[in-house]
Amino acid sequence: MPSGHIVVDGLSKVFPSQAGDITALDGIDISIDSQEFVSIVGPSGCGKSTLLRCIGGLIPPTDGEIRIGGDLVTEPDPRIGYVFQKAVLLPWRTVEDNVMLPFEIGGKPTDADRAAALDVLELVGLADYRRHRPGELSGGMQQRVSVARALVTNPSILLMDEPFGALDAQTRDTMNVELLRIWDESNTTIVFVTHDIGEAVFLSDRVLVMSARPGRIHDVIGVDIERPRSFEKVEGDETFWSLRQRIREELH
């Protein structure tokens, strides 16, 4: 089974709390194909981030199971790259050393690893900034460094948790276009959590719409818009607007 294939089967997640247990996720079933781009949208508190963290092996499910490439997920999987809402760069390291972090944690970095770091920095357009510290970069550039760090180990799956949520609209548009290019060049499966419906439709093959309390998959919507996509093309496309409208209505 291709290692970018994700199956979520009967997943439930309950957080115990003094005021009574909170069911964050309830009976989630999803199957995501290798190299697919899937977005998850839903109201805040619907558990979309929790779902992503379960897939990433950061928290254990209460019930049900997750498989990646057929293997049961019990801990963070080396085939997964994670991009968080914040860039989470280490301010005391240069851009390049931040991207090298996954290799350093895995052992002693090789020359091939260093070459890979340069390649991904090239891919996100920041090779010229590799000697800078994160504090000298704009928010958009920082987030691109964190994308590079997630990609450097050549993962089969990229999990992205509202990665561009904190960026201004213009930077976010640029990042979306770049993300599609990177996805195209890297053959990864991407699971992308966002609260921006337009972003979800623009990027994805399928959009999972979640409902809150308990978090359930409310609907799965296929986005039948031709690739490669650009803003000019997509915004002139009837399907884009009707899907946006449909998802918006489902969220209310």
Binding site: L58, Y82, F84, W92, G135, L137
Partner: protein, 283 residues
């Protein structure tokens, strides 16, 4: 889009009365210090030199005392006590701080001791330490270590445990071991906090060494103060105060220097601004 954002430098010059803020501060400081010294002079002049010598007399005595080389051994003894006390207390503080931060069980065992030793006034121990160790440097080093240790334990613990949750989660996602997370995430994150602990510890070690010398010593600046008190040599007392103040300033400068070097190594050239976030007296 690819523009570099540089942090604005702190203490940027805002002209006032035709002077930069920095220059104006220096002028105001100089003027107020001159007024204070004048008040001291006037007050001392109307009193017996036994109560207080004048600033001029203190300066003259200081030059004589230092010039004759009489300060050397006392300063050296006190510096040694501070250094050993600081190193001993610092090492223990950092060590237990790491243990307490890493292991809950260690924290539960260590913290009650910390609270008890903090509640105990450590200077009160000086007489018994003199009985145990005599009039040498050991009791002073132990007192200095005992009070230097707490700020380091506290700041080490605080620095190590305050790494942002998302940073810890990143390391978890990258399958980092506890040891790797400590070394590559928590420790570098804690460096500035540990350094402010070191600064406090250094000053406390100085106080500890001097006060312990009061209780029983024949050498060291604290011992000189007690000797001066016994012979009603108020001038010599003042000389010792001045030397202690200069020593304190020198130690603080040294700390600042090391801190800046470390910060520059960690954060690169932009570290100067990060280092400046710690308020620091410059002379």
């Amino acid at each position: 889009m690819a523009s570099i954002r540089r942090p604005a430098a702190r203490g940027t010059t805002v002209p006032r009365f035709g002077l930069s803020e920095k220059r104006l501060g220096q002028v105001l400081f100089g003027a107020s210090a001159a007024i204070l010294i004048l008040i001291w002079h006037l007050w001392a002049s109307t009193n017996s030199p036994l109560i207080s010598p004048t600033p001029g007399a203190v300066l003259q005595r200081l030059i004589e005392y230092v010039g004759a080389g009489r300060a050397n051994q006392h300063v050296w003894i006190t510096v040694q006590e501070i250094a050993f006390g600081f190193l001993l207390g610092g090492a223990i503080g950092i060590g237990f701080g790491v243990l307490a931060a890493e292991f809950d069980i260690a924290r539960r065992v260590i913290m009650p001791y910390v609270i008890i030793t903090q509640a105990l006034p450590k200077f009160a121990l000086a007489p018994i330490l003199v009985i145990w160790f005599g009039f040498g440097q050991e009791p002073k080093i132990i007192i200095a270590a005992l009070i230097a240790f707490f700020p380091l334990l506290e700041n080490t613990f605080l620095g190590l445990t305050s790494a942002p949750a998302e940073m810890i989660e990143l390391f978890k996602a990258l399958r980092a071991s506890r040891w790797t997370t400590l070394l590559k995430c928590r420790v570098p994150h804690a460096i500035p906090t540990i350094f402010s602990g070191l600064r406090v510890a250094l000053m406390l070690a100085l106080v500890g060494a001097v006060v312990a010398e009061y209780v029983g010593a024949n050498k060291g600046l604290g011992a000189q103060i007690i000797v001066a008190q016994g012979t009603l040599d108020t001038e010599l007392m003042y000389v010792a105060f001045v030397l202690l103040t200069l020593l304190g300033l020198a130690l603080d400068k040294l700390h600042g220097l090391v801190y800046r070097l470390v910060m520059r190594r960690l954060y690169g050239k932009g570290a100067a601004t990060a280092a400046d976030q710690q308020p620091r007296v410059s002379v």
